[in-house]
């Protein structure tokens, strides 16, 4: 069963972009990430394929700008999946190697025809500072 056309077109768009883009289904399972996102994850889509939400969400630790842990329910993508609304937040992520990085994350729901919630997109804006 192929994905809906709106998901496929989001992947094709992500493929053209030079910023990290992650696409999930409605449950948060990671169904695609582009090459810039591979650099963030430290993994390649070719190697991992799709990843269940519990696997890919464990790759990062998230902290606010004061260094405090962010509960999952306050993360933009989690809120988008819960509420079908766009969110944006700037925070720190720490990968499995312990490397910390400041990012801004914009997430938006994919609402297809006719008004059906199909998944979500998360765009990482890396600050590199």
């Amino acid at each position: 069963m192929s994905y809906e056309i709106e998901i496929i077109l989001n992947r094709q768009l992500a493929d053209c972009m030079s910023i990290p883009v992650f696409i999930t289904d409605t449950k948060g399972n990671l169904i695609f990430y582009n090459e810039p996102a591979e650099d963030v994850l430290g993994k390649t889509y070719e190697d991992t394929g799709e990843m269940p939400v519990e696997v890919w969400s464990s790759i990062f630790k998230t902290k606010d700008l004061d260094g405090k842990d962010i509960p999952p329910e306050d993360l933009p993508l989690v809120k988008t999946l819960q509420n079908c609304l766009p969110y944006h937040k700037t925070f720190l992520i720490e990968n499995l190697k312990g490397v910390s990085e400041k990012i801004s994350l914009t997430s938006y729901p994919i609402i297809g025809r006719p008004g059906k919630f199909l998944g979500a997109v998360a765009i990482f804006w890396r600050h590199n500072d």
């Binding site: 809906e4 056309i5 094709q12």
Partner: protein, 277 residues
């Protein structure tokens, strides 16, 4: 099922001596079995069908892939629409903003057309489709949105004997790296998978497609790759570009087939062709 191709040209009717072999009428295909008649798209080929269409029942179903003009321009001249004894079922893609009725009514209204949609004397029924499965007589029909500007679906039509897939306007290769060779990520793949016959967009040569990307259509190469990935048994390449003469369409096919050996039968669609599946 019996399939008749009444129009296989894309974009605009193109009549004349240079297009008489492949035909100049735009998209319209008749699919029939017993008393059930399905008409796929209502391009100018519908006018030619008017002369031979014989309804043994009092119902006809028109399945529109989308509402671009080359797919609806024959509708206003379709005789059953003006017959109060006929039940006409019009199926078309749902939009997020306007109803099917309001969108078709733009065509059925002055100054584009003298007869208002609401004044058509037939017994008219409208059905909006998206990613659906429904039945009409002996046919099970699956519709699904595909890559083309505006709400556009393709149809997979099955009966007891065969599967026929119709995706006349389709750009599965839209993107940075072209067509994704993974059925999960290939627009229209559910519709075409293992079909006995696929009628598919092949408006451009591979070279032409480079400057037409995003226009919603497909190169002959991408159409063949799509058919191969989805395992169809026979491919009819359709929606011929209006600027292509018969000679150019034949040359396009010869160029492609001399470099590509495919494990299924494929040919350029020719208006007037009848196929029994």
């Amino acid at each position: 099922m019996k399939i008749t191709l009444w129009g296989v040209r894309g974009s605009i009717p193109t009549s004349g001596p240079d297009t008489e072999y492949y035909g100049g009428n735009t998209s319209c295909i008749e699919v029939s079995q017993d008393d059930t008649v399905l008409i796929l798209d209502a391009g100018s080929g519908m006018q030619r069908m008017n002369n031979t269409l014989q309804l043994s029942g009092n119902r006809v179903d028109i399945l529109l892939t989308h509402l671009h003009f080359d797919h609806i321009q024959g509708l206003g001249f379709f005789k059953p629409l003006f017959d109060p004894k006929i039940e006409v079922h019009l199926w078309g893609p749902a939009s997020s903003t306007k109803t099917l009725k309001s969108r078709i009514s733009r065509y059925f209204s002055p100054p584009l057309f003298p007869v208002h949609f609401r004044d058509l004397p037939c017994n008219l029924h409208l059905h909006e489709v998206g990613n659906n499965t429904f039945t009409i007589g002996p046919f099970t029909i699956k519709s699904k949105y595909v890559t083309h500007p505006g709400p556009t679906v393709g149809y997979r039509i099955s009966d007891k004997h065969a599967v026929f897939t119709y995706i006349p306007d389709h750009e599965p290769a839209l993107g940075a790296h072209g067509l994704i060779p993974d059925l999960n990520w290939l627009s229209g793949s559910d519709l075409a998978e293992n079909a006995d016959l696929l009628v598919h967009d092949s408006q451009y040569t591979a070279e032409e497609y480079k400057s037409k990307m995003g226009w919603g259509h497909c190169s002959i190469n991408d159409a063949a790759t799509f058919a191969q990935l989805t395992g169809v048994k026979r491919l009819l390449l359709s929606h011929h570009d209006p600027s292509h003469t018969d000679k150019e369409i034949s040359r396009m096919f010869d160029d492609f087939s001399s470099h590509n050996k495919l494990p299924f039968k494929y040919e350029m669609a020719i208006e007037g062709t009848e196929i029994e599946l």
